[in-house]
């Protein structure tokens, strides 16, 4: 049985135009390249130590 209060909590608000700029700037979704770069930089920093 669906619980209305629980279900309605799952709905997220829509993005408004005024919030779009912030959303774009804070869009820090990482892809494989980012992960690899991070790994390489960690390895290099360890090597330097």
């Amino acid at each position: 049985m669906i619980n209305f209060d629980e279900e309605v909590k799952k709905f997220s608000p829509c993005l408004e135009v005024s919030q779009a700029e912030d959303a774009i700037y804070h869009n820090d979704v990482k892809d494989i390249t980012d992960v690899l770069e991070e790994m390489y930089s960690q390895i290099n920093s360890k090597k330097g130590e």
């Binding site: 309605v8 829509c14 993005l15 892809d31 494989i32 390249t33 770069e37 390489y40």
Partner: protein
């Protein structure tokens, strides 16, 4: 590995298979980019069969392997746009055009949206209204949430999130039929919407029926959906021809998605008109009428003031006239007093004259008459008339009348002469002068 460029930074790849600049493994990046393209293709396939939720999942995965996969990002934006999440779509296209400024279809999408500021504002309003409806739903004011959602969906018939929330509200309200109808529309836009399938299953819809619903999926014609005016006219005509029940008949779950909420909107239009009239009357009653009454009162006060001024000026005139009347009355009284005094004096004179007259001897009369006869002989008729008058004042006598008549004759005053002779004849018919005067009387 010769003549190969790094997929990340474009620098030459070394013999060991790593980039000479960023040291990334070419094979690893190549596999990641291939995987990204694979998921993009998957997303594209799903989008083509209207499995938009599946396509979004695949495209998000594609971007996790390669966030610079322009095609995947553009398609993701397009799907968001199709589902009514216009700002999310714009966001993907802006990021896409940032990665690839030239020859990017995302730039055209952005231009198209931005070229119509009204549309952009409408999209913004859609987001705001949905957020407001969501707040109402969370706070328990579900009626307001219903109204807000119906208004949104009448303008944006492919706004999936709105349908889902509306279906949830209907389910909570116990109105499963309408909930199913809303979810059916969701499935027409997004075949594999997991939330819609979940809600339908909860309501006891079989998998077979759900599949049937999915098979009917087709794209909504936005032009048809936005044409409220035509829809309104159509509904109005149906209403006139078949009555109000026909409007409910139109609320059929099998009608096209674009017509869904316009019907409800038109039903509300009648209520809105009624409410508008009532509000108009109230505004007139509460705002316009008091102003008019105040104006009328002010005019009345001005008229009263004007009349009061006129009355006061008239009163002043009346008081002045009364004063004049009083002064005239006093003058009249004075004149009357004077007249009385004059009369009194005259009476005294008359009395004195009478006393004198009574004391005058009879010889005087005779003397006056004989003197009058002498004057007539001397042709002094005026003097004779005066003497006779004086003699008659003393007392009447035939001689005095006779000579008076003769004196008038001599003075060519035949009328008075005749009068004197007539008096003589009437008072003294035995007089010796009757014969002499007969010819004058007969004339």
């Amino acid at each position: 590995m010769n003549n190969m460029e790094c997929l990340n930074c474009g620098a030459p790849v070394l013999e060991n298979g790593h980039c000479s600049r960023c040291h990334m493994s070419y094979d690893l990046l190549s596999k990641a980019f291939n995987t990204s393209n694979y998921y993009y293709n998957l997303g594209l396939d799903r989008a083509c069969v209207r499995d938009l939720t599946g396509a979004i999942d695949a495209l998000n995965l594609s971007l996790k392997y390669n966030k610079q996969n322009i095609n995947a990002r553009n398609l993701l934006g397009l799907i968001y746009y199709e589902m009514g999440e216009i700002v999310l779509g714009l966001m993907q296209w802006v990021i896409s055009s940032n990665y690839l400024p030239d020859n990017n279809v995302a730039s055209r999408y952005i231009e198209e949206v931005q070229s119509d500021p009204i549309k952009l504002e409408e999209a913004n309003q859609l987001a705001k209204q949905f957020n407001q409806a969501l707040i109402h739903a969370k706070q328990g004011t579900k009626d307001l949430a219903f109204i807000q959602l119906k208004r949104i969906l009448s303008n944006y018939p492919h706004f999936v999130k709105g349908y889902l929330l509306l279906a949830l509200l209907y389910m909570d309200n116990g109105n499963n039929d309408k909930a199913k109808k809303a979810l059916k529309r969701v499935l027409r836009i997004d075949k594999n919407n997991t939330l819609a399938v979940k809600y339908l299953s909860e309501m006891g819809v079989t998998s077979r029926d759900i599949i049937e619903m999915k098979e009917r999926s087709k794209r909504i014609d936005p032009d048809k959906a936005y044409n409220d005016e035509d829809q309104y006219k159509s509904d109005l005509q149906t209403f006139v021809e078949q009555g109000i029940a026909s409007i409910d008949d139109l609320d059929d779950p099998d009608v096209e998605v674009g017509a869904f909420h316009e019907l409800n909107n038109n039903k509300f239009n009648l209520i809105y008109v009624g409410v508008g009239l009532i509000v108009g009357v109230l505004v007139f009653w509460l705002l316009v009428l008091p102003t008019k009454i105040n104006l009328a009162n002010q005019k009345n006060r001005e008229v009263k003031l004007e009349y009061s001024e006129q009355i006061s000026s008239k009163n002043v005139e009346i008081s002045e006239l009364n004063k004049q009347i009083e002064s005239l009355n006093s003058q009249i009284d004075k004149f009357n007093e004077k007249a009385d005094e004059e009369q009194k004096k005259e009476d005294e004179k008359q009395e004195s004259f009478k006393v004198i007259k009574d004391n005058i001897p009879n010889s005087t009369y005779d003397s006056l008459v004989s003197e009058a006869a002498k004057q007539i002989e001397a042709s002094q008729y005026k003097k004779a008339i005066t003497l006779c008058d004086v003699a008659l004042e003393i007392h009447e006598g035939e001689e005095a009348y006779y000579y008076l008549g003769m004196a008038y004759l001599g003075d060519h005053d035949e009328k008075n002469a005749k009068s004197a002779f007539v008096t003589l004849k009437e008072n003294y018919p035995e007089s010796s002068h009757i014969e002499d005067i007969t010819e004058y009387i007969s004339e």
